[in-house]
Structure formats: C-alpha cells, structure tokens
C-alpha cells in the first residue's frame, strides 16, 4: 500500500516569505500523528496544501499517491481551524448535508455521538455553546470512514473535560488502518494518544520521531522537549 501522505520538496511562498520550505515527509497508515510547531511554523499551510486549498509554489504533495483532487477529498476527512458550516443551519439539516456530500459518512455514528452530547437536532448551529459547536464539528468529521483525518486544532477552545471527550472520540472512531494528523499547541493533553510527532520550525522539518523514542532518548515528555527546542 502507498503511504497515505507524501511531501517532496514541498514549498509554499507568499511573496518573499517561505511559509513552507523544501519539506520532505512521509506519513504511514495506522498512526496518530501530532503536527506541532510555534505559531507561523507552517502547520496550517501544510494542512491546507493537503486539502487542495492552496497550490504548492514548488515540489509536490500526494495523498495516497495522488495530488489533491476530488478523489483524494473522498478519503480525507478535514476539520478546519474555524467553523465551516452555515451557522444558521439546524443540526438535522447539517447531518443531511454531510450525508449528501460524503459517501463514507455514517449517519448512525454521528447520531450516536450527538446523542451522547445531548445536542438538539432542531437547534441552529449558532445557538450552540462554543464547546458544543466544536464537538459537533468534530463528530461530523469523525463520522466519516476516511483513510486520513486531518484535524486542525481540535481541542483549542474547549475545557479540559471536553478535551478528554474529544480525544476519546478520536480514539473510538478512527479505524486502525487510518491515519490521524492532529495539529495543536496543547501537546501535554494529547501526547499519550500519539504515535509520532512532527515538529515544524520556520516552514521546515525540525523533528519527526515516535513519542516513546523521544521519551527514551531525552528522558522527558514531548511537551518539555518542545518548550526547550522552541524557547523564546
């Protein structure tokens, strides 16, 4: 089987500024991977390139061997870092919308998650609390049977209990051949569910290692290592 995501010499320039610079990287199947780096290190740029929302300046990015296109979007389930749904839609309408859009959307799984959250199907999205809005978005994204889940800051705006719920949701819903790429600043919170972490710095790869390799080699958590490497 092909790697689920492959970048070769991937570069994205804005004027003279390199958001990503000559990034070469391969993500294997069946892993949960943390995409880490300080603000402006290129995390979201990489994610947008993977989803075909940006076009590389140079080099290429392949999903399952294909450049981002409708066929790759079928197998990538993407959670952007901001709300992407019409806030005036009712939850029930959003469910129909998603199931229209994606063949691999499981209504049953979505219903189950929304039931657990006690989210009213008649409510309009904009009436939900910030936490419930984020959880609803995640529930939709995790209800797809995708090969690659790309989650941009899934736990940013929610309280610690909700974070546990979100991590549990991710662990419960991905299948073991799928890959989950999670970008976040809250490393300590998600460290134990990750196989591997990728550190980006100034648009380049600073580190790509297994969490337990880092702990064995440095005798410290990924969070502590991150604070050391990126000390301001």
């Amino acid at each position: 089987m092909r790697s689920i995501l492959e970048c070769q010499g991937l570069t994205k320039k804005y004027g003279d500024f390199f958001a990503l610079s000559n990034l070469t990287l391969t993500l294997e199947r069946g892993q949960i991977i943390g995409l880490l780096g300080p603000n402006g290190s290129g995390k979201t740029t990489l994610i947008k390139l993977a989803n075909g929302l940006l076009i590389p300046t140079d080099g290429h990015i392949m999903i399952n061997g294909l450049a981002p296109c409708p066929d790759t979007k079928k197998i990538v389930s993407y959670l952007p870092d901001r709300s992407f749904l019409n806030e005036r839609m009712r939850i029930s309408e959003i469910l129909t919308f998603y199931s229209d859009f994606y063949d691999n959307f499981s209504m049953e799984r979505a219903e189950k998650m929304l039931d657990a959250l006690e989210i009213d199907r008649c409510a309009r999205l904009r009436t939900l609390s910030k936490g419930n809005k984020e959880k609803t978005h995640l529930a939709l994204v995790m209800s797809r049977d995708a090969d690659l889940y790309i989650l941009d800051e899934p736990i940013g705006g929610v309280d610690p209990a909700a974070r546990d719920y979100i991590l549990q949701t991710i662990l419960t819903n991905y299948n073991e051949n799928a890959t989950v790429l999670i970008s976040t600043h809250l490393i300590a919170d998600i460290e134990s569910i990750l196989d591997r972490v990728i550190f980006l710095q100034n648009g380049q790869l600073a580190l790509n290692a297994l969490v337990d390799e880092i702990r064995t080699q440095y005798g410290k958590s990924v969070d502590a290592l991150f604070r050391e490497v990126f000390k301001c």
Binding site: E176, S192, D195
Partner: protein, 123 residues
C-alpha cells in the same frame, strides 16, 4: 478514567508496569482473559499501537500469552506470578531504603524505626 502516566518515561513501559501490577495484585486472576487492545487503550486513553507494544512486551516476559483467535490471557503459571510479586516487593524495599539513605538514616536506624512504627500500628 485515563490512567495516571508520568511525563518523563516511555508510555509503553508505564502501561506494562500498570498491567503487571494489576496481574500481580490480583485485579486480573490467573487464566483470565484480558480486554482487547482497543478497549484497554480506550480505558487508559492512550494510543492503541502503544498499548499493543506494552502487551507484546508482557507476552515476552511470559506474564500473558495470546491465543490466535480468542485473545490474550493471564498466565496460569503460579510460580512465575509468585516470583514476580517477590521481585516487585524487593524493588519497593530497595527504593525505600535508597530514600532513607538520602535522608541520612542508616539501615539500622531505618529498621528500628520500622519496628517502632509497626508497634504503634498494633496498639
């Protein structure tokens, strides 16, 4: 409830220790079937691959064994369990004495204090 994990040591090691402890202390009985990797990973709130690694390592130590289709089981080998229990107890004692040395107590002082403490407990 996610399992309590230290920040500075490999996660799979800590999972091994925790399961080993549960086996030795009788949470799991000899011959019991262990929950699936996925269920254990969910319970601990850790990555399933990491849990898989911890269980494979425990298999190598002989504490658990897997049966092709029906899952993983705790060993029936009571002698092995007794030996592991003993080893773990020795480790705890060693750590305790090390700490007492750090505080500046000799082995004799420490023993006296233990005897005192036991007397106090009995009263």
């Amino acid at each position: 409830m996610p399992w309590d994990l230290d920040n500075d040591r490999p996660i799979y090691l800590q999972l091994m220790e925790r399961i080993q402890h549960d086996i030795i202390s009788g949470v799991y009985q000899p011959g019991d079937k262990l929950p699936s990797v996925r269920d254990l990973a969910l319970e601990a709130a850790v990555n399933p691959n990491t849990m898989q690694k911890a269980l494979s390592e425990l298999e190598r130590s002989g504490l658990v064994y897997s049966q092709r289709t029906s899952g993983r089981f705790i060993t029936d080998d009571k002698a092995l369990l007794r030996r592991m229990k003993r080893e773990l107890a020795e480790e705890h004692i060693q750590q305790f004495f090390d700490q007492m040395h750090h505080l500046g107590f000799s082995d004799e002082d420490t023993l006296d204090m233990i005897t005192e403490a036991l007397k106090g407990e009995k009263q």
